[in-house]
């Protein structure tokens, strides 16, 4: 088992993610530079949060053109679990590895706080070891998490069970106040049709040990590690 955390110019959660995987979860993990042409040999690929290329043009737009993204696409095609966190999610959208797009938060504020999300499906490697309806408490920190997609795409997401997490309150109820950014359908994370490419706005790497105020992020790592080991 070996994990890759991709580093773009402007990534700023790369070392946190590396720490969570390597030191907390005990997984051999490499920081992989964006110019790397191949991800052969990796069993897990994570695109971390941050402000790649200063969010120039559109969030994630420049990083989506990086050389490593061809390798990410190839890994995804091989069935390797790929996780995009926050800016990583935005990059996967811009690269077309996930459907839809991001707009600035409806409240026009950068939201940096703890939120709750409800697990909507167990079909991804990152939710397989948890239960549908389980509520996770994780931090967010973003200005553009307002997920949008056209009706056709949203219908396909629902029909194919591709909505992975929705914002909720602590009891798992979808309330108006629970959605921090105005995303359609309270969507916090989605997956591709195959289920192995997953993006979410909350930061599991920031809640993977007690010292950080929460451990629900561990559930994602434990789940994908179990999948890879199986």
């Amino acid at each position: 088992m070996r994990a890759a955390v991709i580093v773009f110019p402007g990534s700023n959660c790369d070392t946190d993610t590396h720490h969570a995987l390597s030191h907390v979860m005990g997984v051999p993990t490499d920081l992989v530079w964006h110019a790397t042409p191949s991800l052969d040999g990796y069993d897990l690929v994570v695109l971390p949060g941050g402000f790649s290329y200063g969010d120039y043009l559109r969030t994630g737009a420049m990083a989506a053109q990086a050389r490593v993204m061809r390798a990410v696409r190839e890994a995804a095609d091989r069935g390797v679990p790929v996780l995009g966190i926050c800016n990583g999610f935005q990059i996967l959208l811009e690269a077309g590895l996930l459907p839809g797009a991001m707009l600035p938060n409806a409240c026009v504020e950068f939201r940096c706080e703890w939120v709750h999300v409800r697990v909507e499906t167990r079909r991804t490697p990152f939710t397989e070891a948890t239960d549908v309806g389980r509520v996770l408490r994780m931090p967010i920190a973003h200005g553009e998490g307002n997920y949008v997609a056209d009706h056709e795409t949203l219908d396909a997401l629902h029909d194919n069970d591709q909505v992975v997490w929705r914002y909720s309150d602590a009891a798992g109820r979808r309330t108006a106040g629970a959605n921090p950014n105005g995303s359609v359908g309270d969507i916090a994370g989605i997956c591709n049709a195959r289920g192995n490419v997953v993006g979410l706005m909350p930061h599991p790497e920031r809640c993977s040990e007690t010292a950080l105020g929460g451990t629900d992020g561990r559930l994602l790592w434990e789940s994908v590690l179990a999948r890879v080991a199986a």
Partner: protein
């Protein structure tokens, strides 16, 4: 002068598609109302990308610019664009690196 490469300047106007929510535009609209401007119905914020490129003719320049828009300059999920191609100026020897 046909056959000689020319410098084309293009203005690419990028806008959010109609119906796509624009939190930035809504905030600017509120700001204008706060300044006392009456009658503000809606404000939408877009961007202009100016591109200078060397191409053999206008059709080629337009083709390349359309590809640029589709591959990087816009996100077709939420944005649309208009291209404005400016009359070219002949390429002068002093414009080249060789």
């Amino acid at each position: 002068m046909s056959g000689l490469p020319q410098i084309y300047t293009a203005h690419v106007f990028v806008r959010l598609k109609p119906g796509v929510n624009d939190p930035q535009g809504a905030t600017v609209a509120d700001g204008l109302r706060d300044l006392g401007f009456d009658g503000i119905r809606d404000v939408r914020v877009g961007k202009i990308v100016d591109v200078e490129l060397v191409a053999p003719d206008a059709a080629t320049a337009r083709d390349r610019l359309q590809s640029m828009c589709e591959q990087l300059l816009t996100n077709p999920v939420i944005e649309e664009y208009e291209l404005e191609l400016i009359e070219p100026q002949p390429l002068k020897l002093s414009d080249t690196a060789w």
